[in-house]
């Protein structure tokens, strides 16, 4: 086909080529015009409240594409995937659940509840279906990773997700409800030891490569960790309580100056855990991981509670504070921090003028150590005193001398308190054996029951003590 022109003819394919170029140019101009107006259109949408949620800003292309291109259909696809996930879980076919959870959450990336549900489902519901420790731990990690690596990444401004993640660390790993909790604690401690080379961090000497790895692999930002350590620490980062505190702290921070009730509550609960069992003792000779109190952080816990009480009009905060102080006195006493325990007792009395709390410090320790205000029998008292001596030897064998002294003092205080109220006739009839005798019995039991390496260490210490006694 030919067409007349000024100089002759243009072949059909040449004409097609020209029109193609023209179309491409037009398309390019339209595209340019659209992108030029895009920002304004988005602003106008926000001004006139035409969108329910703000668009995803940090989503990778695939997620951005699915959320925009699929439109309303993504809800339908998410439903179908969810039905499949439920069916597979019911049939015990768990291998696909991580993939399905990933797709479902990516289809609804701004739906906080979906992230929280799938993480919780994997960490709690699926993990318990496995007998093997390793497999259970893997599912707990899968739940953590879903929230930590993706959920919070897409919803970095939602404090609820931080709280959910912190809860997994606090309850699933740090709690005692799971029968495998000791294994979980050991795995977390091992993972953090390998990463940090110990439990505590020297931020001034932190290797930049390590800092990068902490952020990339564990989403632990050394800057925020430092802030936490300065405000509440020093913390042992091998303990689950440090991690629940970290995520709750981040959640509270993104919530703004007013804080977030649930995150702030989790901060306080994590601090209580850190105070009561936030220090890790790893025995190199065995797989044993021992959680001991981190009593140095007491002033920080008190400060955190006082701030929460001032920030939130919620009765659970002052109630929790009182409950914490009551326990803290006994913990401090067991660490031979008698003066600090006495001050905490005073603080407890000052904060609770109405509540009936034992005013005498020694009596308070006695009552709260044996966990009853009623008179106890000679058998129960013997059991308690000998038990406290036994604990003292346990901590001595672990090299925790202050704590050993604390339990020793506690045993002696209870012995004295029990014997104080007795007349000589009563002592004759139902008095306790001398404290030294009870201590020897506890030592003999400890030597027989502690396995190696603790019994070996205790034997050496006992010999040393005997030598010192002779001198």
């Amino acid at each position: 086909m030919f067409q007349p022109t000024r100089g002759g003819v243009i072949k059909a394919h040449e004409r097609d080529f020209l029109s193609d170029i023209l179309c491409l140019l037009t398309a390019a101009m339209c595209l340019w015009a659209a992108q030029a107006r895009h920002g304004q259109i988005l602003e106008q949408r926000a001004v006139h409240e035409l969108v329910q949620v703000t668009p995803l800003e940090n989503a990778p292309p695939l997620v951005a594409f699915t959320t925009v291109a699929l439109g309303g259909f993504r809800g339908l696809i998410a439903d179908l995937l969810w039905m499949r996930a439920s069916r597979l879980q019911d049939e015990g076919k768990y291998f696909e659940l991580v993939q399905l959870a990933d797709w479902i959450t990516k289809l609804e990336p701004r739906f906080t509840g979906v992230w929280a549900y799938h993480a919780w489902n994997m960490a709690y519901n699926v993990s318990i279906m496995f007998e093997d420790n390793e497999e259970r731990w893997r599912w707990v990690v899968n739940g953590i990773q879903l929230l930590r690596d993706s959920g919070i990444f897409y919803n970095s401004g939602d404090p609820q997700l931080y709280k959910e993640l912190g809860d997994i660390y606090k309850q699933k790993i740090g709690g005692i409800t799971s029968e495998k909790n000791q294994y979980f604690k050991r795995m977390l401690a091992k993972e953090m030891s390998e990463l940090l080379g110990g439990g505590y961090i020297d931020y001034d000497q932190l290797d930049p490569a390590l800092a990068k790895r902490m952020i990339k692999d564990h989403k632990l930002d050394p800057k925020i960790m430092r802030e936490i350590d300065e405000e509440y620490g020093p913390l042992d980062w091998r303990a689950p309580s440090s991690h629940s505190l970290y995520w709750a702290y981040r959640g509270s921070r993104v919530a703004g100056p007013g804080g977030h009730v649930q995150c702030d509550r989790l901060i306080n609960h994590s601090l209580i855990d850190a105070f009561e069992q936030g220090r890790i003792l790893l025995l190199p000779e065995s797989e044993l991981v021992i959680h001991t109190p981190n009593i140095d952080i007491l002033p920080n816990v008190i400060r955190a509670y006082e701030r929460s009480i001032a920030r939130h009009e919620n009765k659970s905060f002052p109630d929790g504070f009182v409950s914490f102080l009551k326990d803290a006195i006994i913990v401090l006493y067991s660490f031979n921090r008698k003066e600090q325990a006495r001050e905490t007792h005073q603080l407890l009395l000052a904060r609770n003028p109405d509540e009936e709390i034992e005013k005498s410090f020694s009596r308070y320790v006695y009552i709260n150590s044996i966990k009853t205000t009623r008179a106890i029998s000679e058998t129960d008292a013997t059991m308690y005193v000998e038990g406290a001596f036994y604990k003292s030897f346990f901590w001595l064998a672990l090299g925790e001398e202050e704590r050993a002294k604390g339990y020793d003092a506690m045993a002696r205080t209870c012995w004295k308190q029990f014997m104080k109220a007795k007349t000589p006739e009563m002592i004759e009839r139902m008095g306790l054996a001398p404290a030294g005798e009870l201590r020897k019995r506890a030592m003999a039991r400890a030597m027989g029951e502690f396995g190696e390496p603790l019994s070996g260490r205790l034997k050496l210490l006992a010999e040393k003590m005997q030598a010192e006694d002779k001198e």
Binding site: E96, V98, Q99
Partner: protein, 457 residues
């Protein structure tokens, strides 16, 4: 027969010329290579292999099914539209031969592409799980959990039909069945009551199952006992301690397994070969041994307790899975050719995709068919709580369920990754339903109508 082959050859040549074959091959190979890079397993080597098997074969099946439907719909309808059919129908070729030729041509393309896709997947699987990549322990787990073909054995179940009928009659005589409750509904409720009573294990009591396993089991062939249960403490998420024993009828001493398991999911343990009697009749007992938080345990349904015994190799199982996938493709090809013979291309594609979607939404269809669109809780004063819309919807979904349930059920990819056997009986069932009944009915309809269709307009 030569005529059919000639038309099939023509269909293949057209497909190759139109680059459908090449593009499909590129798409398949790309999917097989790219998919493993974006897939997430559960963190274990076995989980990774299972996800790889399932998703790679699933994507192959999806691509081939969509392409098959498209090509099949176009194979006749576009020839009619472009009037190329005139060249064929003027030759001594019957419409049946034309239909079969087109169908057979598409099957040949499918066979080639499925072989390539399946072969690549199998190769990739071997490559990803080779020595040096995985630890010996992981490889052993894979060999035990994934690269196996285990046949499930179910316990003998007791029928409750007669006792349910007798009870219903007695209750009706006494007037204990409400007047507005249909007899069928009352019967179902009574039967369900007896089933649950039979399958419940109260604290401290025992339930026994009888399994007939093969008599010729090898000396090292341990079996797996898989069980699922619900508990009266399910909402509290408490584990229930139980004692499993297995052996002869009156001698269950050979094997004991004590375990506290959580309700709601599947659990399993290995029963050693030594515990299985030579006659293959294995008795399994469960004692509800929970004392701290006593709870009633219910093993509901035939598959609540299953014995899985090794039965052949994984490679043969893989091949059988490919065969079933091919049979499914054959059905969709027949559907497409029939739709294309009767309708224009867009309408034929639309109709075929509707049937295809039935097989994809099998779970949803089955659930609506059984409960209706809305769940209406039972109320004693309103024995038949329902709405008009719900009744209509439920009836419609029941009809769809009849068609879709074999399509959903005869899916080899639900069994293969879990190491479950795809038996020859399963293949026979696939051939019967998908090839003989579904594809046959489709062919009869297609050829019958095609014979009456005027194509020389």
């Amino acid at each position: 027969m030569n005529k059919i082959f000639a038309i099939a050859g023509l269909a293949i040549r057209t497909a190759v010329r139109s680059r459908v074959f090449i593009w499909l091959m590129i798409l398949l190979v790309s999917a097989i290579i790219v998919l493993p890079l974006i897939l997430k397993g559960d963190g274990s080597a076995a989980g990774r292999a299972q996800v790889l098997i399932h998703y790679n074969l699933r994507i192959i099946a999806i691509i081939l099914t969509l392409a098959t439907v498209w090509v099949a719909c176009g194979s006749v309808s576009t020839e009619i539209r472009d009037r190329h059919i005139h060249l064929l129908v003027t030759k001594p070729v019957s419409r049946l031969q034309l239909w079969l030729g087109k169908w057979f041509g598409i099957l040949c393309i499918n066979a080639a592409l499925l072989s390539i896709g399946g072969g690549l997947t199998y190769g990739l699987l071997l490559w990803e799980t080779r020595e040096g990549v995985l630890t010996e322990e992981d490889r052993a787990t894979l060999a035990e959990e994934v690269f196996v073909a285990r046949r499930p054995f179910y316990a003998e179940t007791k029928s409750h039909d007669s006792i349910a009928t007798e009870t219903l009659e007695a209750l009706m005589v006494r007037g204990d069945i409400p007047e507005n409750m249909p007899a069928q509904r009352a019967y179902k409720t009574i039967k369900r009551f007896y089933q649950l009573r039979e399958n419940s294990v109260l604290p401290g009591t025992v339930k026994e199952w009888r399994f007939e396993l093969p008599m010729n089991m090898g000396p090292d062939e341990d079996v797996i006992l898989r069980y699922r249960f619900s508990s009266s403490r399910q909402a509290q998420r408490r584990s229930t301690a139980g004692m499993w024993t297995a052996g002869r009828k009156n001698d269950l001493a050979p094997f004991r397994h004590r375990h506290a398991s959580y309700p709601g999911g599947a659990h399993q343990f290995t029963v050693p070969r030594a515990a299985i009697p030579d006659d293959g009749v294995l008795y399994v007992k469960y004692m509800n041994a929970e004392t701290k938080y006593p709870a009633t345990v219910v093993f509901d349904g035939n598959s609540a307790v299953t014995i899985l015994a090794n039965s052949g190799s994984f490679s043969m199982n893989f091949l059988r899975a490919m065969l079933v996938l091919f049979i499914r493709l054959a059905f969709f090809a027949s559907l497409g050719v029939t739709a294309g013979s009767l309708l224009s291309m867009p309408v034929a594609v639309f109709l075929s995709f509707f049937v295809l979607s039935l097989s994809s939404f099998g779970d949803y269809i089955a659930s609506v068919a059984s409960t209706g669109l809305f769940y209406i809780p039972h109320h004693p004063e309103h024995v038949e709580p329902t709405t008009f819309l719900n009744t209509i919807a439920q009836s419609f979904f029941k009809c769809m369920n009849v068609v879709s349930s074999p399509l959903a059920r005869l899916d080899p990819l639900e069994s293969l990754p879990s190491g479950l056997l795809i038996s020859w009986a399963f293949i026979a069932e696939s051939i019967l339903f998908l090839l003989i009944i579904y594809a046959g009915l489709s062919a009869v309809l297609g050829v019958g109508c095609f014979n009456r269709r005027e194509v020389a307009l």
